[in-house]
């Protein structure tokens, strides 16, 4: 294999000095302890994001973002384009897996207190990236222009309306008018394929760069017990093994449950009963259904701000001390999200 790449390596080495890169690869270490398993979720998220980019670009060759053609173009992708069903199903399941992996990565980072000094900025960028992943999911949902995606987006676009002052403006900004229509479809498409990918590329680059600068954080409980393994080749090989396994799981899902395409929306028809958002928005949906809207929105906003500022609020972790309060805060958020999601499943009619 070395001989196979030999001429290519020689070509590069004649032109560029690879010594710093080689030195970096040789000396970079990854902590090895009983919680090291969680380190793989960051790389896994990066892998799925790459898959989403590839499958998304392939679909963009055929997709047409107008109310007259959106549904037909998706049907064309599914039924006529070679392996179109596979590409779209991978994009669909990839989005679901990505949200799940990003949530696991975020909560594992939180509970290992990996946000503590000097990684505060990494945490902030990570939370923003989690928000971008959810924004991708929200903007992509409308694109097939089905009854379900139309009315679910309508619920989402109307959510800011309850906010005093800027609520109406935000809602119109998202919808491109008073109601969900052609302008909303164009906006969601532009956000989904232009703005969000650019922001994601910038933030992912910054996140990965910072993770190389600071390395992986060792949980406080493992200080003194942690060994080290080489990043190259050991960790890279294991990361690749996880990625290959993930791809196998994704293909299995795609084969057993290919993405379906429900009926095209007729906007003048009333919304069908039991409309509910995708699983990752259910906790928010249920929060708004359970509590008065303005206090609910205020509580979620405050919770999110605290969540983002945790590295600056958790002074004990920064000093290397246990911070039970913030562990309990994380547990409370997680339990609340799971409980609200389950409640939404139980109390909403299955569509």
């Amino acid at each position: 294999m070395k001989d196979f790449f030999g001429p290519f390596t020689a070509f590069i080495e004649e032109r560029f000095d690879l010594t710093p890169l080689r030195r970096w690869a040789r000396h970079k270490k990854v902590p090895q302890h009983k919680h090291s398993f969680w380190y793989y979720f960051g790389g896994l998220a990066l892998f799925i994001i790459s898959l989403q980019f590839v499958t998304g670009i392939l679909m963009a060759f055929y997709y047409s973002p107008t109310p007259d053609t959106a549904h037909e173009s998706v049907r064309y992708i599914m039924e006529k384009v070679h392996y179109g069903w596979l590409i779209r199903s991978m994009h669909f399941w990839g989005a679901n897996f990505l949200v799940a992996v990003v949530l696991v990565h975020m909560f594992s980072t939180y509970f290992m207190k990996a946000y503590r000094k000097p990684r505060e900025l990494m945490w902030l960028i990570g939370v923003l990236l989690a928000g971008l992943v959810l924004a991708f999911a929200f903007t992509g949902y409308l694109l097939p222009w089905t009854t379900l995606s139309y009315f679910a987006t309508k619920v989402g676009v109307n959510m800011p309306m309850v906010m005093p002052g800027i609520g109406g403006f935000l809602s119109r900004l998202l919808a491109g008018g008073e109601d969900v229509g052609a302008a909303t479809l164009t906006r969601m498409f532009t956000l989904h394929v232009v703005l969000l990918p650019i922001l994601t590329l910038v933030l992912v680059t910054a996140h990965v760069f910072l993770s190389q600068v600071f390395g992986s954080s060792v949980p406080l409980s493992q200080k003194g017990y942690s060994e080290e393994t080489r990043f190259f080749p050991t960790f890279v090989l294991r990361d690749s093994a996880v990625w290959a396994g993930m791809l196998a799981i994704l293909i299995a899902f795609v084969t057993i449950f290919p993405a379906n395409l429900s009926s095209k929306v007729n906007p003048v028809m009333p919304a069908p009963a039991g409309i509910k958002p995708e699983w990752y928005f259910l906790f928010l949906f249920q929060t708004l259904r359970t509590f008065p809207e303005i206090p609910a929105i205020a509580a979620v906003t405050i919770g999110l701000i605290i969540w983002m500022l945790v590295p600056f609020l958790d002074k004990r972790s920064a000093k290397g001390e246990r911070s039970t309060f913030f562990t309990l805060f994380g547990v409370a958020i997680l339990v609340y999200m799971i409980a609200m999601t389950m409640m939404a499943y139980i109390t909403t009619e299955v569509h």
């Binding site: 069903w85 080749p233 050991t234 960790f235 093994a241 996880v242 290959a244 395409l261």
Partner: protein, 65 residues
């Protein structure tokens, strides 16, 4: 439930390949990916234990870059 879901998926997009066709396409791919994954994992442990392998390029592990 899985069977019902398969049926629903097939009826909603009747033109996509049937479940058996999809399986014929995917099973070899999944098998290859799992084998690759297994060997990568095996290799990582061999490399870690042996410590013989090195980053690509000239020189051994302990030689200065």
């Amino acid at each position: 439930m899985i069977i019902a879901a398969l049926g629903a998926a097939d009826s909603l997009a009747s033109q996509i390949p049937s479940f058996s066709d999809r399986l014929n396409f995917s099973l070899p791919l999944i098998a290859v990916l799992l084998v690759v994954s297994f060997f990568l994992l095996l290799k990582s442990y061999t490399v870690e234990r042996g410590g013989k392998e090195d980053v690509p390029g000239r020189g051994g592990k302990d030689q200065p870059g």
